[in-house]
């Protein structure tokens, strides 16, 4: 290494950002309830998201009970079945995954990982959570209004979503739309914080290209969300007006139950375009943070730098950009112009390129690494497999000619659950097992973690592999019961029973996980400051869990990237981002001679 580079990296830039006074809470209400501390807000967001996610989980059990054992459970009729489908989808995609990755992990990790005291606007950050909570409550309330929750399917396609005969037409759909609008308002307040914190409030020495990939993933996902949610907002407002005021944005002229409706000449296709202009980036709003978290965790637990860091960053950015021009691949059978299908199939397949690049880089990171099969690592490896599976069926569905026969079959359900259901949830588990020691100061129980992992991982394959097959033989999605159909063999019913049994087992395995968390908060093994010997800044805080202001008296100064693992010539197998080069212990020289430093130290 030339000395020129060393001199450059040894100069610590002056602080450009003045220390901003934090809000000092004096009362327990402002400390733990209406808190402006990003870490508390993160935990509030996570807890709320997980709670509403459990509701979504129970809904999936009820759905599966009906599909596996039709005509056995009297309390499930066609109406309530559709309500379960709708609420399960909406809760899982928006109120669990989006809120947990961005509101939960975003709030906790961004300030800590970039070396900031807090988010740039803590007060607005607090409001973000409370608006989110109201959105969740409004959504939950829709179960209890007359007529119950909406049963329109999570995509809420008009005209069916707001026409007579669909469950929840009285109050459920209105509350659903109001809740979505509130969620978007709340998210925007938080999202602006995340983006500005990453751009404008990093520590000294923390360049964008030294940020951990977790921050990159959350950062790009937040930008996607800020640009994609507006389309859902507009679609929601328009549909609300159609339902409440009787406008005809999405509603064509129809005869319902023998009578002409008052609507005229609306465009149902417009809703689909608006919805999927949000809906496709939404897939990556969930996937990109997962990509980032996986990169960091496998690098840490394989004691090896991430392979091709710059490529990983640019792949995240490229996927984010491409995700805005693929939305109509959800609409091949909608009746839009077939030439669009050609365009959107092409862009969809192009997305496979940066995504495959990430897959290769994860595998190459593991290659010859010193792999520790800890629970977070197991979940990450499981993610790589699952995402590969879901990604490959995505290539099937991305082609118009393959998609058309598979549309609206169980194959689609299996595909999107693999790619944006199971895969991100596996990463959420990995992230919780990985960062729980930082949040609580205690480790989660390893044995119960193993139990939870194997049941969840194997179970989800037992659920979704057969489902692909069901789709191939033509079992349609969203049907209350199939009944007797000439082209569906009776074995499909047996397979459905099997899937239902596995769903219940996997579902109850999550109780073990929740119990593990609750017990470990009080009785877990003390973790110390840095149990995984990780390099990034959140593990270098003065106290665990980090106190108010994150870093004690002095903000950290960053000297290198977050992936200085197993650097040749260095004694320890990791070098924290904030360890000055002259304090790094070399194997060859006792003192801090840095003339022949490997480049990994100064990346």
């Amino acid at each position: 290494m030339s000395n020129g580079m060393l001199e450059e990296t040894q100069v610590v830039p002056l602080a450009e950002i003045e220390e901003v006074d934090l809000y000092h809470a004096h009362h327990w209400i402002t400390k733990y309830v209406f808190s402006q501390d990003a870490k508390i807000i993160a935990i509030q967001y996570s807890a709320t998201a997980i709670l509403i996610g459990l509701v979504g989980l129970v809904l999936s059990w009820l759905m599966r009970l009906q599909l596996g054992f039709p005509e056995v459970f009297d309390f499930i009729d066609a109406e309530s079945y559709y309500q379960y489908v709708t609420m399960h989808g909406m809760i899982m995609v928006i109120y669990l995954l989006t809120a947990l990755f961005l509101g939960g992990f975003g709030n906790y990790l961004i300030p800590l990982m970039v070396g900031a005291r807090d988010m740039v606007f803590p007060y607005m950050n607090m409001l973000s959570y409370w608006v989110y909570l109201i959105a969740v409550l409004v959504l939950t309330a829709s179960f209890f209004v007359p007529g119950g929750a909406s049963g329109a399917g999570w995509t809420l396609y008009p005209p069916q979503a707001i026409s007579e005969g669909t469950p929840g037409i009285d109050g459920g759909i209105i509350l659903m739309l109001v809740s979505l609008v509130l969620f978007i308002i709340g998210f925007t307040m938080g999202g602006l914080n995340y983006v500005v914190t990453v751009l404008q409030a990093r520590a000294r020495g923390m360049t964008l290209m030294r940020m951990p990939l977790t921050v990159w993933g959350i950062f790009v996902a937040t930008i996607l969300a800020l640009l994609a949610f507006p389309a859902l907002f507009v679609a929601g407002v328009m549909m609300l007006l159609d339902r409440v005021l009787g406008t005809s944005f999405f509603m064509p002229e129809m005869i319902v139950q023998g009578e002409m409706t008052s609507h005229e000449n609306g465009s149902p296709l417009l809703f689909q375009h608006l919805f999927w202009f949000f809906g496709h980036p939404e897939v990556y709003i969930v996937a990109l943070p997962a990509f980032g978290v996986v990169s960091d965790i496998i690098s840490t637990h394989a004691r090896k730098n991430i392979f091709g860091y710059r490529m990983m960053v640019w792949a995240i950015v490229a996927i984010g950009g491409l995700s805005f021009i693929v939305w109509a691949h959800h609409m091949y059978v909608s009746g839009m112009n077939p030439y669009f299908g050609f365009f959107f199939a092409t862009t969809t397949l192009i997305i496979a390129v940066p995504t495959a690049l990430k897959m290769y880089n994860w595998v190459l990171t593991l290659w010859k690494g010193n792999i520790h099969l800890t629970i977070p690592m197991l979940f990450c490896v499981a993610f790589i497999l699952t995402f590969l599976n879901g990604g490959i069926t995505g290539l099937f569905l991305g082609n118009v000619i393959v998609d058309i026969p598979l549309s609206d079959t169980m194959f689609v359900v299996a595909h999107f659950h693999m790619v944006m259901g199971i895969a991100p949830v596996l990463v959420i588990f990995a992230a919780i097992y990985h960062w729980f020691p930082k949040m609580s100061g205690r480790m989660l129980h390893e044995g119960w973690g193993q139990f939870h992992f194997w049941i969840t991982f194997l179970g989800s394959y037992l659920i979704y592999f057969p489902m692909h097959y069901l789709g191939f033989i033509g079992v349609p999605r969203r049907y209350f019961e199939i009944g007797e159909t000439s082209f569906i063999p009776p074995s499909a019913a047996t397979l459905n029973e099997f899937i239902t049994v596995v769903v219940l087992i996997v579902g109850f395995a999550q109780v073990v996980f929740i119990a593990n968390i609750i017990i470990s908060i009080f009785k877990g093994k003390p973790a110390g400051d840095n149990p995984w010997n990780a390099t990034s800044l959140e593990w270098q805080t003065a106290t665990t869990p980090p106190g108010h202001g994150n870093f004690g008296d002095e903000l950290p100064v960053v000297y290198r990237w977050a992936y200085a693992y197993s650097v040749p010539g260095v004694e320890a197998d990791f070098v924290p981002q904030n360890m000055p080069p002259d304090e790094v212990k070399r194997t060859d020289t006792a003192t801090g001679a840095v003339a022949d430093d490997p480049p990994e130290l100064h990346q």
Binding site: A15, T247, L555
Partner: protein, 242 residues
């Protein structure tokens, strides 16, 4: 927080490289990507980008419903005409409204200018004038809505002149824009009051945020106000001239 060691004094990067080299340098630097840009201003820019997508989606939705309806679209020049002495003048009200809103952008620019000079009286006065112009815009919009609803019989779900979506999109989009203007007026008055009271000279702490106040908020407010004006130009073109 305890003071940090002497090497951490705040440095203002004044010698920023110009052009693309400068942009690349800023993006590859540490701490801040946009040098000398306060947090609030950066946040407002990103919010406006997001808001642009909301208005764009609204306008694209408007174009789509207008193109797909089979009923003829009402003629804007006739619907939006005002009669003075029996002679209808097309678009006269909207011309005045547009003029007022654009003028308010001018007074906002002056307010930002005096804000930079920390001239609190002139800043506050200009902010109040901007707020008044904005309020009169909203007032005229209320007049326009009343006229359409009461005299012309336009309703969100239908109207006597043609396609029912005319009223729907009109009330929805101008309503959403009017809401933006109203929120702007509210915040202009709040900021003007704080400027007038000298909160930004004494760096008084915010009631909720407990952050020190300063004149940067005037510029941030200005960004929002100009954005609302710019959006109006598009709404004006798409609704009244198409």
């Amino acid at each position: 927080m305890a003071p940090q060691d002497s090497s951490t004094t705040v440095a203002a990067p004044t010698d920023l490289a110009p052009g693309f080299a400068g942009i690349a340098e800023d993006w590859s630097s540490d701490q801040r990507t946009f040098k000398n840009v306060p947090w609030g201003k950066a946040m407002m820019w990103i919010f406006l980008l997001s808001d642009t997508f909301i208005f764009s989606s609204f306008l694209v939705g408007y174009m789509k419903v207008r193109l797909s309806t089979t009923t003829p679209w009402p003629k804007a020049s006739e619907v939006f005409a005002l009669s003075f002495g029996g002679e209808p003048i097309p678009l006269i009200l909207i011309a005045i409204m547009t003029f007022i809103l654009i003028t308010s952008s001018g007074t906002m620019v002056l307010a930002v200018n005096y804000g930079y000079r920390k001239d609190k009286n002139k800043t506050a006065l200009l902010l109040i004038i901007t707020a008044l112009l904005g309020a009169s815009f909203v007032g005229m919009q209320a007049f326009e809505w009343t006229k359409l609803i009461v005299e012309e019989g336009v309703r969100p779900w239908g109207n006597p002149m043609g396609a029912s979506q005319f009223g729907s999109v009109f009330f929805m989009i101008t309503g959403f824009h009017g809401f933006h203007v109203s929120v702007g007026v509210l915040f202009l008055i709040l900021v003007a009051r704080k400027v007038w009271r000298g909160d930004y000279d004494t760096e008084k702490r915010g009631f909720f945020t407990s952050r020190k106040g300063n004149y940067e908020i005037v510029e941030t407010m200005g960004l929002y106000w100009h954005f609302v004006d710019l959006v109006w130009v598009f709404i004006f073109a798409f609704f009244y001239l198409w």
